[in-house]
């Protein structure tokens, strides 16, 4: 009787442990490597040099992929260092036009839109080395040439992981080769501070700016349309940033709610009072109304309704 009880307890615990280990089977807490990573990286490389920005000239996209892969393949995924990507950077590097660099914190999608695919500004994601890796995830494993598609370490689990080290190296390179007027777009509605420390801009970009190549640093602090105005120029972390840059010897200007960016944010909130345009409109019959200020109730639409 005791034996059968013991056996059933044993059985149950073994089963429990099995299912437990299945759930806990993933090595790391982060998402695994992006599927078809190689095809995506190589495809994006040819896309960039052939279509997105042909001005960068010929690049060897297969060699770029190999260098990228060799930075983290067959190694402890918690021991990948930024300089492991040195060859990748050397092969994919191209100059950044002066006055086009755009740094940012806490507003990635906004920056993507604002940069205009590299036409207005060239953010890191608009360079070849940033473009091929943007939004992707990857890691390898020790003693195996394969990519880990199951899971990858988060930065909390270990700092020196493949993705973190990549962006550290890419950010440093980007900063090093930026010149002319440098722009930084910060989010004034974020609780942690518009200028986060630690952060990529603070730790990997500012230290790599070249004093003799940079003529001015322009800071834009923009609040979310319906977000709180937690920080602005001259306050809190923005003040810390301004002081740091001035101490380093840079010419610094700061603007709150830079209009161009505001318009972009207004896309999702066209009826917000911050977004109301005072432009002229057409009347129903199509004739132009004279210029005049608008009430906050919004633009008058010209609507031509068909028969029902």
């Amino acid at each position: 009787m005791m034996k059968s009880l013991f056996l059933s307890v044993l059985l149950v615990s073994v089963l429990f442990m099995n299912s437990f280990s299945e759930v806990q089977g993933k090595k790391w807490k982060g998402e695994g490597t992006t599927q078809n990573l190689e095809s995506i990286v190589i495809g994006r490389c040819y896309d960039y040099i052939g279509i997105v920005n042909p001005a960068v000239g010929e690049k060897n996209c297969s060699a770029i992929w190999e260098a990228f892969k060799n930075a983290f393949i067959n190694k402890d995924p918690c021991n990948i260092l930024p300089n492991d990507y040195e060859l990748f950077i050397n092969l994919s590097f191209h100059t950044i036009p002066p006055n086009k660099s755009l740094f940012w914190e806490n507003n990635q999608l906004l920056v993507n839109s604002f940069a205009g695919r590299g036409r207005r500004y060239m953010s890191l994601a608009d360079t070849l080395f940033g473009f091929v890796a943007d939004y992707l995830n990857w890691c390898g494993q020790a003693n195996s040439a394969g990519l880990d598609y199951e899971s990858c370490p988060t930065t909390e689990e270990c700092e020196n992981n493949a993705v973190e080290s990549f962006w550290r190296k890419a950010s440093a390179t980007y900063a090093q080769h930026s010149s002319g007027v440098i722009h930084v777009l910060l989010n004034g509605s974020v609780v942690g501070g518009a200028y986060p420390e630690p952060g990529f801009f603070a730790d990997y970009e500012i230290p790599n700016l070249q004093k003799d190549k940079v003529s001015e640093i322009v800071i834009w602090v923009v609040d979310d349309i319906e977000g709180p105005d937690i920080e602005s120029c001259g306050t809190h972390t923005v003040k810390i940033l301004e002081n740091r840059l001035k101490t380093l010897g840079y010419d610094v200007t700061c603007t709150d709610n830079y209009k161009s960016v505001m318009f972009l944010l207004c896309l999702d909130y066209p009826d917000d009072s911050k977004c109301t345009l005072s432009s002229a409109v057409f009347s129903v019959d199509g004739s132009l109304l004279s210029d005049g200020p608008f009430t906050d109730t919004g633009t008058i639409w010209s609507v031509v309704v068909s028969q029902l």
Binding site: K259, T276, L277, F282, W301, V304
Partner: protein, 305 residues
């Protein structure tokens, strides 16, 4: 052999012999060289047809595959069942080794079947003469989809391809312009993709037109005017909303009450669609103001410096 003194005829004969030997050698050399040169030319493919437009995009296969995987991964994870390799193969088969002036919609059938996917209702955004603006808009506002935001359009955007009957079957040097022949790979592709995109639309359909164009905002010769409006399904589509945009500081050639818009309205009404039209749809105008923040049309009501 000892020289026989005094034999002039013998000397003449030997000169002739030497001379003809040299001539013969030269001839042989010339023939060999000529055949070598023409052989090389043949390898390069002098038979490939020459056209006026840019040739097939370099590394087309890698670009298409990369875009396909990127799209499936990043933008619409629920499309996980798309086989990008098959999609590439079906695209290639549509044009490789074929005369690029003889492409038919049948050629693209397999590709279209593999790569089309359903579009959520109320999200279709058609357009005409507003390419730059409409795509900046969908990039910033994921509520709407143009054809170029679907898998098919995303893969093909800004890319070109055409074949040729001679090796290697793909023409990287040039491809036919529409003016050279209508049934070229690009025109046939976009016409077919546009037709399917219109057919897939449901609910409210949006259209962005350009009211600053001299020739009129709505043109029957455009893909929108000749294909898309005729392939909207009245059983699925409830309303058509027209956004008539003027360039900031640009001419206001036409507005919602203009001639071509009236014509468009009557075509759509005949097919039983409800239509509305708005001049300078505000969210899109705000996008235009990003590049013209100081223009008088972009003055904000709230106080700005």
């Amino acid at each position: 052999m000892p020289f026989r003194p005094g034999s002039a005829r013998a000397r003449q004969r030997s000169v002739l012999l030497v001379g003809s030997a040299v001539l013969l050698a030269a001839l042989v050399l010339a023939v060999v060289l000529a055949s070598l040169l023409t052989h090389e030319k043949q390898e390069v493919g002098p038979k490939m047809m020459k056209w006026k437009d840019r040739g097939t995009t370099k590394n087309l296969r890698e670009v298409i595959l990369g875009r396909c995987y990127s799209y499936v991964m990043a933008r619409y994870p629920e499309l996980g069942d798309k086989d990008c390799l098959k999609i590439w193969e079906s695209l290639k088969q549509a044009f490789i080794y074929k005369n690029p002036c003889n492409i038919t919609s049948e050629d693209y059938e397999p590709l279209m079947e593999l790569a089309t996917h359903p579009i959520p209702c109320n999200k279709s955004l058609l357009w005409s003469k507003t390419s730059d603006l409409v795509h900046r808009y969908t990039k910033s506002n994921q509520n709407f989809l143009t054809l170029e935001d679907t898998l098919l359009g995303y893969m093909a955007d800004r890319v070109s391809w055409c074949g040729d009957p001679s090796d290697p079957g793909i023409n990287y040097e040039s491809c036919p312009k529409r003016s050279e022949c209508e049934s070229n790979p690009s025109s046939v592709f976009w016409k077919m993709a546009s037709k399917l995109f219109a057919e897939a639309a449901c609910g409210v359909v949006q259209v962005m037109l350009n009211g600053s164009v001299e020739a009129g905002a709505f043109r029957s010769s455009s893909i929108f005017g000749s294909i898309e409006i005729f392939n909207l399904n009245p059983d699925k589509v409830t309303e058509v909303h027209i956004w008539l945009m003027h360039d900031i500081g640009g001419p206001q050639s036409e507005s919602c009450s203009g001639h071509s818009i009236k014509r468009l309205k009557s075509i759509l009404e005949e097919r039983n669609f409800k239509i509305t039209c708005v001049d300078n749809y505000r969210p899109v105008q705000l996008l235009q103001c990003v590049h013209n923040p100081d223009h008088t049309d972009c003055r904000l009501c709230t106080n700005t410096t």
